[in-house]
Every structure is written in structure tokens, then in C-alpha cells.
Symmetry: C2
Subunit: 491 residues, 2 copies
């Protein structure tokens, strides 16, 4: 069986492409031939590598999808193989005025996709703007137009954390995304082709500016609250900072006001892997094959950072196992890759497969870079020429930490600069919630954020730490504790 | 300047290969052409990607090295571009009897490379066997034959942690390595070609078995101590377990007796990235170009796991910066990748460049897999049919935890099984040293190991935790505290 699989790999031309599967060059063919000759003379059969073969199989699926769709005249033309959600499942606002950008000349025009839940009150004063993490769409919860569960399904609805009996919830796809909002895969009106990597560098502040263009269009002057987790927490903080008079409350869950070097390193590794896929082609892959292998590998690295060691130990500890009986019969020839851990199945799930076919690789690059660049310390904000929409008002309650929360004995290194940067948030009630097992936005950063806000004069900081073993993903999973804290804070 | 760089990228054919740089297929040329046509019609110039261009530059360097060496008749034939240390700088023992393997049929014969420091006592009772981490050679410290500093230079010598006035220190290159000991890049005597991925799966126990074949050859019956850090600590524990009568003391620094799912996940990600490089070619790259890009990317991920968040914050926190003034002049066109962080320079160092040219990719795959498979819990050992060289002796001092070290209140999930597995180590004095900022071998695992050893009846467990911010790399850097603990324990 081992032999026949291998035979198939070599006999079947499509399966013989592998790895970052692009049509093999003559050099690769020569190597393949060498490997075949090698087997003929070797006492040992050639091994098989299911984890590598997976990439080739995916490439073949994409190619055959292409072939079948090109036989349909209505589907002619270069069509990216990742499928956007149906445009009928969300609303789109087209902003036809320039959007100022932090690092680049203004974007001449843009679309922003959004979905809503609940009912806008006549006074338009019950609006919650919900911000997404890196790769999420506007589909935070199911709607009549799209019954599929959303990424925060259990947190939105009657009686839930964002109670739709009371609130009108708006969620947008972020600027730079690929689910209806303008991003690198969108058509550049100047060229009628996708922007690709000519798309300008964007910041978290730019994402928020685009959201407020939508709010202006909807006639919403003031938000009841701005709510976000992970990168959404960055946006939530940035929104409260840019528009302090237009936001009632800010919620930051497992976020940060200053990206840490270790989280930047994790994202750098993901982008490096993605950009090394030849299919990426410096971002110009929209007329070719997308870098699905690079995106899959990047996603694997991300997945590792989303959970915690303790949880994996509980979940997989007893399943890390030696070879099974069927494997030991051919153990002589089993290459390292063929020893299957339950863990590997988790890292190479169907959801991961979906992701690397549906999500746009350039969006990952631009949005993860925007996260890296996020830094609300005062020197950084000054260097960027950023300032809030209105001058910082004097703190209304207290200009110093409260008696219950004196300044920390061992302040984080950047605390004073961060406190200075966060001054425009001094008068906004803020919920800061962190998770002790989070390795991507570690709990130290949550404490730093709460400390800096208090040092900036904010006396209405609600701060919670959660235990548990779910790490960064806690915000998606712990409805009881995360949801409960939000519900209590919003009342 | 931005434009001219780009022009160069497209005009100069070698630089135009990029990413996992293999000679571009016609498909890639078509895309390149599309990108060029794109520029002609676009208002926006094409961006440049220095981090991707680096891979192409390296490929060109390898190709030109090949070209120049092939003009030298003495250097003809396929020569892997990674350079082994000169064989004259270490000693080699050729074992011409079969070596039993945990997961495969015996290896018919093998070489093992080693270096020594100090003087063997007439009674041959002053020997310390030093085990290496994943990618290190036998060159732990400088020698008359090789004056280059070794990987543990400051820990070996007169008056140092391994005091050469007292001890005779032996360090070997591990089985599966590429620095003189037999591994996947070695010639398979059955075929006269490199094993490549026909090399059998190896275990930590197999590495130790190979070392003891060397000790037999050298006439060394009993070791004064077995010492190792990281993967070396796994070998050190395995040695004490397999040959309890032949080892006086065991030192385990930042190791584990049971690989954790999160560390397995980190190594899985590294292997996935490496194996996705088309140059890897299912392991048969010895006649072609090595997967230098995949190895570089894998090394980047590893580097992230070797240090800790706090240290990076101190080192880079203030250098994470927005665009410099020179960058802002062309900020409109600056792609995300061109925003330089000091951090990136650290992840793409010259040492990393050296590594991806000198180290054998298949060795990384086999050895990191051996780490994944390491599990000294009793069910795992039983499943593998492993047993120590002699029956487990009854504990000599006490069969229960001491009064100073009662059983832990919240035992780690696998503690009882691990304690049962570690019974053969019950009578060996052991130093377990862990680092609180280590994210690869977290301090929880150090506590688990010490607890399990005590639960197994070992009353001579010395256990220390180090603070500091160096993470897993502490064992390479903290001469004072790591070295001090070892020196004290060995006396």
C-alpha cells in the first residue's frame, strides 16, 4: 500500500507537483527522475509525505475548479478562487470622497461592508460599533439574509452580551479586508485592475476613520459603545481616542494599545512564510494561482499563537502517541512526517483549508502589518502627526490614580509614554479584559493598558483578568465570563 | 531611487527569481509580464520587497559558488552547499555493528563524531558526557584542533561549570545530525548515495544508544555525569534511564521528560514550512539546490520560541518605530514589508543566513521529530517496548516524596504516569533547572519533571528555577546562574 501510493505520486502528473506547487521546472523534473532512479537501486522504498501532498492536492482542486468554471461562458475571465460571501448577505456603503491615510496619500474612494442587528432607536443613541479581529468578516452573527452562524454568534442577540433588545449593533469588514470592504483584492478605479501590493499601507486609525465615514452616512453622531477583541480592541481604543466626544464607552478584550515585539515577531513569521510562496508573486496573483500553501502555513503559525500550552496539554496530552499498530508494520520506512499526532489534525483542519482558499493573502499581509504598527505611546503618535478629532478635554473626575488603584510598584517600561498617549481617553469609561493564558496579547499588556489609562487620569477603568486555558481564543469561546463582563459594563 | 531599484529587479534576470527561488516557470514569466504591463498602465509604481528579494539573492550566491567550484576539477561532482566542519577538527568512531532503533530496523553501521576536553583519569571515572541541542555540533568549546568558540564556550574549561582540571568532557554530534555523525545527508552504504528521507526515523533513545557505543569503544564503563540542555536534557534523562548503573549524576537544564503539545506544534510549523519549499523535493535535494529558503523561515520561527516576550520588549520596545523621514518621502508607495523594524533585523541575522546554508534540512526534520516523539510516561515506554539496561532497582533512600517536598497540591495531568515511567531514575542524583521565561520548555514542565522524579522515589532531586528575561536561550547565556548550579551539583 505504501508502495502503490508512492507509485501513484510519481505516475500521476498533477500529483507529482508538490510543496509550493507550481508547474515543475525542468530542474525539478530532473530531481524527480533522480529520485526514481534512486529507488530502483535502493534497498529502501521512497517515503511518502501526506502533509506535503496536501498542498499539491489543493492546487489540483483549484485547477480543476478553474477548468470547470471556464467551460461556463458566464464565468469567464480571471476569477480569484477564494469566494467572497454573497454580496446580498451584507450592506455596502460606497464613500466617494478621499479617505485620509496615516502612512500614505488619501484613498480616493472606498466601499465598506457592514451588517446590523437589533433596531436603531429614534434618537439614534443605542448604537454599538463592533470591531473585528484580523480575518473576520462583518458576519458577527446570523441574520435573516445569512443564516450561517457568525464569528460571535453567542454574544449577539436578545439577552446576550450585546443585547439586541436594547442595542443596535453594527459590524463592518475592516479596510484592507476581502469581504466587501475595499482592500488589496479590490479593483483600483485608476487601473481597473486589483490594487494588489500597490494598495497603500493602512493603519488601525485608518480602519476606524473608514468606519466613522459609514456612521456619518447613517446619521449616527454618537455611539453608545465601541466594542472589540484582539485587533478589534485596538480599533476600539483608537476609536475612543480619535473621537472621544462621539463614543460613550469603550470595550477592549485581549487587545493592546502598543503591539509587543513578540507578537510582531509572530506576525512577521507568518508574512514571511506567505510571501515566500512563489504563487504570491509579489502580490500580483489575481490572474494566477493564489498562494494557498503559504497562506495555509501562515495560518498554522497563527493557530499556535491563539491557544495556550495548558489547554493543548489537556486536549492532546494523552493523544501524543507512538506509532499505531498499522504504522509499525511498515515502521522501517515511515518518515518523520508520517507519524501522525492528533495535534497535526488540529493544525491542518478543514477550517484551515477553507481559510486558505477563501481569504485573500494580501489582506492578511496588510492587516497584520497594521497591527504591528499600532502604538499609542505619545512619541509614536506625535511622529505620525496623529491627533484626536477634538482637543483633549481635562479629566472630569480625577487626574491621578485612585486610592484603590495606586500607581504600579513595578511599572512596565513604556508606561509613562503610553499614559501620555492615552490622555484623550481619560474621560471615557473603559472595560479592559485580559486572559492569563494568552500568549499573543499577554496579560502583562492588559495590566499595562489598565495602568496607563489610570495614570492618564481615567478613573472609570474596569479591569478583569480571566483564568482558564483557552488563551487568546477565550474571547471567542468564553461566553459566560467574557459576555458577562461586557453585559455588566454596558448597563 | 525606489523606481530604479524596481527596474533593476525586473531587468536583472537572476534577481527576478524570487520567493522560493527556483528558475521561473513559463507561468511565472507570464505573471511577471502581467506585472510589468500593469505598471505601464498604473498610476502607482510597483513596490519592492527586500525580505523576499533576500531569498533570491541567496539562491544566486549558491549558484555562483557552484559555478566557481565546478571550474575547479578537484571540486567536481555534486557537493552540498552546506559546509561541514573540517573532519580534522573532531574525532570519528566508526561502529560497524548494527545499532538497534526504536522505530525501525537496526542501522547496519554508523559514524559518530566527538570532541573532548580535559584529561581522562587512569581509572576512567571522571567522564562527563555532554549532550547537544537540536542543531549543535560536537564543538562545544574551542580546542587545539579548532580554535573557533564552541556553543558552550564559557561553560567548559579550567574552573568553569564543567571544570576540565577535574573532568574529561566528551561531546558528540547526535545521530541524525550533519556534523560528522551519520544522518540523512550521509552516504547509505547500500546505495552509495545519501540516505535522504530513506533514513530511518530515530528517537532520543537511539541517539543515546549511539553515544554509549562510543563510550564502550573508549573503554568508559561509568560516567561521572550526563549533562544536557534543551534536547540535550532529553538525552541526559534518557541516558540515566537506559543505563542507570553507568551514570553517576544527571543534569537536565530547560528540558522535559515529555514533549508538550505546544512545543510539538512549534516544531511542526517549522517542518511544514521547510518541507513546503520545492527545493526540499521530498528530501532528495543533495544533487540539486538545498531548501535554503524553507530552512531560513523555519529558523525564524524557532528563534521566536527561543527568547521571551519581556526580553524583546526591553530590547526592541523603543525601536519599534513608524516610518523614518527618508521612508516618508515615498510613503505613498511603501509596501508593508518595507517598514523596517529592528526586530526584523534580529530575525534575519547573518547567523540565520549561515545556518540555512550550513545546516542540513533533513537533519532538522529528523531530529526535531525525535524531540516530538520523546515521552517518558510509562504507557508510552511500554508501547515502544523500551526498558532500561538493567531491572529497576528498589529506591535506596525513600520511596515517597520527602517532607520538604510533599506531593504537589495541583499535580500536572500526566504526573502519575510520568512518575511510573521515571522509576529507573529513582536512585540517580538529578539536577533539574528551569527558566520562568522559557516558552518552549515552560517552567511548568520543569516542575512536573522534578515532582515526577520525587514521586518516583528519587530523594536526591536538586531543583532550581531561574528568573531573568532570556527565555529558553538562558542555558547558552547565563553562565553565572546556570554554570553555578551545575558546578555546585557536580561537586
Amino acid at each position: 500500500m505504501f508502495h502503490s501510493t508512492k507509485q501513484q505520486l510519481f505516475v500521476n502528473p498533477p500529483a507529482a507537483t508538490h510543496g509550493y506547487a507550481r508547474p515543475s521546472s525542468s530542474g525539478a523534473h530532473r530531481l524527480k527522475l533522480a529520485a526514481r532512479l534512486y529507488t530502483a537501486t535502493s534497498a529502501r522504498p521512497l517515503p511518502s509525505f501526506p502533509c506535503v501532498a496536501q498542498h499539491a492536492a489543493r492546487e489540483n482542486r483549484i485547477l480543476s475548479l478553474r477548468a470547470s468554471s471556464s467551460s461556463d461562458p458566464s464565468a469567464s475571465g480571471p476569477e480569484p478562487p477564494y469566494a467572497r460571501p454573497s454580496p446580498s448577505s451584507y450592506q455596502t456603503y460606497h464613500h466617494n470622497k478621499p479617505l485620509p491615510l496615516t502612512y500614505a496619500e488619501p484613498l480616493p474612494e472606498f466601499d465598506i461592508a457592514y451588517e446590523t442587528w437589533g433596531t436603531l432607536s429614534p434618537a439614534r443613541d443605542n448604537v454599538i460599533l463592533l470591531h473585528t479581529g484580523l480575518s473576520a468578516s462583518s458576519h458577527a452573527a446570523s441574520t435573516p439574509e445569512n443564516s450561517a452562524p457568525g464569528w460571535w454568534e453567542k454574544f449577539i442577540g436578545p439577552g446576550r452580551a450585546l443585547d439586541t433588545r436594547q442595542f443596535f449593533v453594527i459590524c463592518t469588514n475592516v479596510l484592507g479586508g476581502c469581504y466587501g470592504t475595499t482592500g488589496p483584492s479590490s479593483i483600483d478605479p485608476a487601473t481597473s485592475k486589483p490594487y494588489a501590493t500597490t494598495f497603500p499601507v493602512i493603519s488601525i486609525f485608518d480602519m476606524v476613520r473608514a468606519q466613522f465615514a459609514l456612521l456619518d452616512h447613517l446619521g449616527i453622531v454618537k455611539l453608545y459603545a465601541s466594542v472589540g477583541s484582539s485587533m478589534g480592541a485596538m480599533q476600539s481604543l483608537a476609536a475612543g481616542w480619535m473621537f472621544p466626544e462621539r463614543i460613550g464607552k469603550v470595550v477592549s478584550i485581549s487587545g493592546t494599545a502598543r503591539s509587543s515585539p513578540s507578537s510582531i515577531a509572530m506576525r512577521f513569521a507568518q508574512r514571511s512564510v506567505l510571501m515566500a510562496d512563489p504563487n504570491w508573486n509579489e502580490g500580483f496573483y489575481y490572474e494566477g494561482l493564489p498562494p494557498h500553501t503559504g497562506l495555509k502555513l501562515a495560518r498554522q503559525i497563527a493557530t499556535i499563537t491563539y491557544r495556550s500550552g495548558p489547554e493543548w496539554d489537556i486536549r492532546f496530552g494523552r493523544q501524543v502517541r507512538p506509532l499505531s499498530s498499522s504504522e509499525t508494520t511498515e515502521k522501517q520506512h515511515t518518515p518523520p512526517c508520517a507519524l501522525i499526532f492528533s495535534l497535526r489534525r488540529t493544525l491542518t483542519t478543514r477550517r484551515g483549508e477553507q481559510f486558505c482558499l477563501k481569504y485573500d493573502a494580501n489582506s492578511l499581509i496588510y492587516i497584520s502589518k497594521a497591527m504591528d504598527l499600532f502604538d499609542m505611546t505619545e512619541p509614536s503618535l506625535v511622529a505620525l502627526g496623529l491627533s484626536p478629532a477634538i482637543p483633549t478635554p481635562p479629566p472630569t473626575v480625577s487626574s491621578s490614580p485612585t486610592r484603590a488603584h495606586p500607581p504600579p510598584a513595578n511599572p512596565a517600561p513604556h508606561l509613562p509614554e503610553l499614559a501620555a498617549g492615552l490622555r484623550p481617553l481619560a474621560n471615557t469609561p473603559i472595560l479592559v479584559l485580559g486572559v492569563q493564558s494568552d500568549i499573543l496579547f499577554p496579560v502583562d499588556q492588559q495590566r499595562e493598558l489598565a495602568d496607563a489609562l489610570r495614570m492618564a487620569g481615567n478613573s472609570r477603568v474596569s479591569y478583569y483578568e480571566l483564568g482558564g486555558v483557552w488563551g487568546h481564543d477565550t474571547f471567542l469561546l468564553d461566553e459566560q465570563n467574557v459576555g458577562g463582563a461586557i453585559r455588566g459594563f454596558l448597563l
